[in-house]
Amino acid sequence: MTQRFAPDRPAHIGQPHLRRNALRHLAGRGAYVSDLALPRMVHAAFLRSPMAHGRITALDLDEARAAPGVIAVYSAADLNPMCQGWTGVLSHFAGMTSPAQSILADQEVLWVGHPVAMVIARTRAEAEDACEKILLDIDDLPAVAGFAPALDPDMPAAAEASASNLCFRAELKTEGAAAAFDGAALVVEGEWRFGRHTAVTLEPRAVVADYDPASGQLTVHHGTQTPFQFQDVYARQFGLPDNRVRVISPDVGGSFGMKLHLYHEEMATVAASLKLHRPVRFVADRLESFTSDIHARDHKVKARMALDGQGQVLAMEVLDRTLIGPYSTYPRTSVAEGNQVIRLMGAPYAMPDYHGVLEVLFQNKVQTSQYRAVGHPIAVQVTEALIDLAAEKLGLDPFEMRARNVVADDAYPCASATGYRFEKLSHQESLRRLRALMDYDGLRAEQAALREKGIHRGIGLATFVEITNPGAAFYGVGGARISAQDGAVVRLTPGGEAHCAISVTEQGQGTETIIAQIVADQLGLTPDQVKVVTGDTDATPSGGATWACRGAGIGGETALRAGRKLAEQLCRIAGAILQAAPESLALRGGAVVDAATGAERLALAELARIATYRPDTLPEGTDNSLSVAQHFAPQGYPFGFTNGVQAAWVEVDTETGLVKLLKHWVVEDCGRIINPLLVDEQIRGGVVQGLGAALYEECLYDDAGQLLNGSLADYLVPMAGEMPDILIGHVETPTEDTILGAKGVGEAGTAAAGAAVMNAVNDALRPFGARLCQTPMTPARILAALGIGPTERDETWN
């Protein structure tokens, strides 16, 4: 790839270009799947299992079928035979197992919320009316709800199809791990519990399936981040050619990983449309979201760290146990999170040895799977808590402790003890920037002064490494039909503007804006001259779309290469028109210019006019194409790692256990920054999601597997009143694996925010000898750590 067609300066990459699509939202003109109303559209509601585990003994749909407005009522017998079952296992997770899933519960119900019957009616209200008229009897079976029953060998499996409650076990071990502990000057250890939480996208899951038997076309309007994945799923599971399945993902009201998993309700909605030959709509209400959207985390970690006398980390030993659902989620599995937990432990540090064990256990709760920052918050929190513990024992300042242990900025490339290969990270520089940004020494002085007055503030630090830009090593090697490549078609319109159709998708993070910036720079246009189309399998080339922080790094590179390819083609056409060597031409300011002098030779609008309307005037044999297609798959490193460090400044009311978040800082290195405004907003939003998990969010279940707080009144999300201002600094270390040099940033904030806050709370509580090791850090847990009120029994950790 020649650099010749690069603009003379990076005109738009790196600029805080504003999102054009934000203007629609500000005008109330968003177009979400939940807004869609199609002619003859009907509405779905589901009757769900009220029990965590049981056997269906009676299901009578007759009265519901006769209810006003009802079009159809389906049970498993009606829908399940229409589609192949799906099983969430991947071959690179050796030995993992999971029962297969089907659309509706057939005989056995496996969690509270498991869909048993589907009602289709003229309105959602009528569908809900009819659900109340279904007679359902279930005989209770023992419910696996929590670690104790899941680990109890005498307990029956969460699903009758499973031989045991062990879904997957993995172990990583370096040769020197045991010796490192034997020879250590200091060993620090602890146990951590991470509450189960969920994505709570403000727009719930939404799907409108529309099958037209005349054309054999299935169109699914689906609020997802991965339309091509669902095109493939719907085509294969229902036996349709994939080019007859169109998935459209318009505006999506938040996704964060939650909307890329396969759900029973979406499959049922497609099946119903195939049966009814008319559009069927399902939009989860908030209660359904809590009992059917994937949950995340739900881990218990036992870990220790070995250090030498100088505070150098020698090794970590980790046992991570995680409770998933009754099956592993499809197609990404429910074990990827734990897999990342045990592999990200100690990642920022020059730690030679490691021993990690992962156990993934089934239980009768809604499935868990990938949600923003998959595994990172757990690995970061455990690692950073151990680092702080070690610093305390050694009498070292937490900054100094980290500075001694992070991989040196000049030590790359290198690999972690867990096997991750790092191209180039910037921990040392990030720590230096953070220290200045937050005025660390000033804060320490303030903290000491306030202690005298009985005000207990704490500072917490957390370094982190984030996995971005995944290649096919992530899922593809395990047999998943999840694309690690992306595709774009870039064209010059007859009017001389540009159009880019690309497989990466937009959920508000600014994908379309950065793609426009990148393409604009390749074509010598402004971003406003580049229309970007995403989220429609009929309109763009196929690709992986948006997950694991790959939109900017991989999608952006795809756009860049497509833009350059078109620029070369445009210069060839211009060369033919101008009788000039294409190599002597360049694109700048909306025109073809002389590359050497910058003198304008031909406006792009004129070039487009000639190529479109007067191709007859071009020299014979000239290719008048104004469109190019380009696909790109990452090569080189299997993942593009990023890094950063966060700091939290909190005040703990030691009488009430309430934590006030005073301020938060992030220094982050995501490689080439395409749009600093959007990068900062990704970080801020990510931080707040991490803070939610640290202080508020937890799906609470009783021992019978009943969800106790499945509404937004009881499940606490972070709100404006409690969130701090967040200061952000950057280090920019582009990856050399791509021309663009960009890596991902969407999960960095979430990865370490909770760890920073937990360390800050523990810093505040240090004079009391109290220490938190469970999230969310509720007032009751903080008070319990201070010796006020009961400590939770291990059994309630479910």
Binding site: A125, L716, M719, E722, T778, P779, G789, P790
Partner: protein, 287 residues
């Protein structure tokens, strides 16, 4: 989350509302702001045949001052309690509590009367009207009657209202000379239901505490009067020892239940902490 079908009638005046109820065979619910009823319907927790809309009945609206005290119509939205100068002057405790009730938009439409009639033990206003010894004016099929706030809240979501009765207004007696009040709650987020909250009213008498009203919310099945804590205050000077005694007495007054996120013992501890803070605040204003 769509409500089951029901009929709806807008009542022009109280007699019409009562008449509609009388003809409903008991299967009707009065509707004002709807901020408790509508979500409860959406969750299908209730399915009345008829909703009788009393939100536009003039006799239920308005805030006025008379010789008996401040009269607050049942359909007064929370936002008015926050902003009305009469409330600020004559029932500042209510205005203070209103700041803690949910969020700004809720306060624009949710009504004072609706809040009291729901009798949610986590709600602020029931505790406040009990602490202020308010009287509740009720209109019903058998005519009008007055119920002391002290006798109004019977159990979880249960009041002394008889079927068909409508809360018309709340009468807040004029403040006693020298009366000091304070309200506070401990909540995890702004506008959340409190982990614990309390309203305090103290009336000095000859340099000591003559009257004490301490009513907690979010610690039991009703707004809870802390009788032992009150007794620890009465006749005493408001000093550190008295405050400590009152806080310690809270353990005799409250028997909160366990909650998935807040064990009973922790909630009781918080009640003592909160009462201490409130009393110290009042101490600062003590002349």
């Amino acid at each position: 989350m769509k409500a089951p079908p029901f009929a709806y009638r807008l009542a022009e005046d109280l007699p019409q509302a009562l008449d509609l109820y009388a003809r409903s065979a008991g299967d009707a619910v009065y509707l004002a702001g709807g901020h408790s009823i509508v979500p409860s319907l959406s969750l299908r927790l209730q399915a009345p045949a008829l909703l009788i809309d009393i939100s536009r009945i003039a006799a239920l609206a308005g805030v006025s001052l008379g010789p008996e005290g401040l009269r607050i119509g049942a359909t007064t939205p929370h936002a008015v309690l926050l902003e009305d100068p009469l409330v600020a002057t004559h029932a500042p405790l209510l205005a203070e509590a209103a700041r803690h009730v949910a969020h700004p938009a809720i306060r624009n439409r949710a009504t004072f009367g609706g809040n009291l009639v729901l009798a949610d033990p986590a709600s602020e206003f029931p505790a406040v009207v009990r602490a202020l010894r308010a009287e509740l004016e009720v209109e019903g099929p058998e005519g009008a009657r007055q119920i002391a706030a002290e006798d109004f809240f019977l159990d979880l979501y249960t009041t002394a209202l008889q079927p068909g009765e409508i809360l018309r207004a709340v009468l807040i007696p004029p403040p006693a000379p020298g009366q000091l009040v304070a309200f506070a709650e401990l909540a995890r987020r702004q506008g959340d239901f409190a982990m614990v909250g309390a309203a305090v009213r103290l009336v000095p008498k000859a340099g000591v505490i003559g009257t004490a009203d301490i009513v907690f919310h979010s610690v039991g099945l009703t707004p809870m009067r802390a009788v032992a804590a009150e007794a620890a205050l009465i006749g005493q000077a408001l000093d550190a020892a008295t405050i400590a005694a009152a806080c310690a007495a809270v353990a005799q007054d409250l028997q909160p239940g366990d909650d998935p996120v807040l064990p009973a013992a922790t909630r009781l501890h918080l009640a003592g902490v909160l009462l201490g803070r409130l009393l110290r605040r009042v101490q600062g204003e003590w002349a």
